[in-house]
Symmetry: C2
Subunit: 191 residues, 2 copies
């Protein structure tokens, strides 16, 4: 039996995207974004939804670029910090012990300690209520060499990404593999 909870924004899993941009002063900033996801295969694109007036939004429009840095679970404290305060008021990288580099691909910073980063150019946007969905084309994916599979793809359990739970405001790890995709359902196809 299901209970109706009414309107609300909860879904599982929800990502922990740490969005990197440069401000007008040239300083690197990072913001914790949970509303977002991949949104296109060709060209490969990712959507991040930002509240209007966010520092990161202005930075993206100015530089036409951003990065999506995927923190490993060991950086949960740093990831959370990036969501607690605006880059308008604080140089966030002064507070944390992380190394920031300029992306070689787009005009945005990379958090080098995080194992996986998407380097994106601004493509388009659409307004939804208080949020603006910003779409970036993923021009490059950069992965720590010790977090690659033998096929040179990012290995999820080595990257050890965070999952956000918007219902209880907690961060979780990714758990065990349960099935192979495009395979587990074949039994039903043959019926």
């Amino acid at each position: 039996m299901k209970k109706n909870l009414g309107a609300g924004a909860v879904a599982f899993p929800t990502p922990v995207y740490i969005v990197g941009t440069y401000g007008k002063d040239g300083e690197a900033n990072a913001m914790n974004v949970a509303w977002g996801g991949l949104c296109s295969s060709e060209p490969p694109c990712v959507m991040i939804a930002l509240r209007k007036g966010r520092y990161t939004y202005d930075n993206i429009k100015e530089r036409r670029a951003f990065t999506v840095n995927i923190p490993s679970a060991q950086y949960a404290k740093e990831a959370d910090f990036f969501g607690l305060i605006s880059g308008k008021k604080t140089r966030k990288f002064d507070a944390v012990n992380l190394t920031v580099k300029k992306s070689e691909t787009v005009d945005a910073p990379i958090i080098d300690d995080f194992p996986f980063v998407l380097e994106c150019r601004y493509v388009k946007e659409m307004e939804i209520g208080e949020h603006i969905m910003v779409v970036g084309e993923i021009l490059n994916m950069a992965v720590e060499e010790n977090c690659l599979t033998s096929k040179n793809t990012p290995e999820i359990n080595k990257i050890d990404p965070l999952i956000f739970d918007p219902a209880e405001s907690t961060y979780h790890k990714v758990g065990n593999e349960v099935e192979k995709a495009f395979s587990a359902g074949l039994a039903y196809l043959q019926k």
Copy 2:
């Protein structure tokens, strides 16, 4: 040291949204959607990205409604099956042993065996390459009573949702909690 992999659509975590719609013939259909995510808080909205020409897209435009059903890990085979074939060709619910009901809120079907469902009305859309991002307003969240927290919110570990890994095409479970959000980063804020 990071290795550049070039353009590509991989991010972690990626969801397993089973999107429920009614076809023109009135039959319930379900599609496995991995490109998507929450995209607005007020009003609460979710984005799903569908390739052009998908049966589900036509159904949504016709009925102005869809559901996002979150499967628990025990339904990985059924979830995968819903991504293997088009509802244009197959009545997918004839092949699986799942109970489908009409939503009381929107003109779309609910998979009753799945513990968590978002009932959505079509709001707007935007094209990106081969995909169309469809935004739905979440008018109701329905959760199995035994998957609720004491505060009547969906409990992530009881719901036991699937995570899709687009790099290796596998499904994973959600793992252990590592930190509290809006809390773990406070130490850096006080510096």
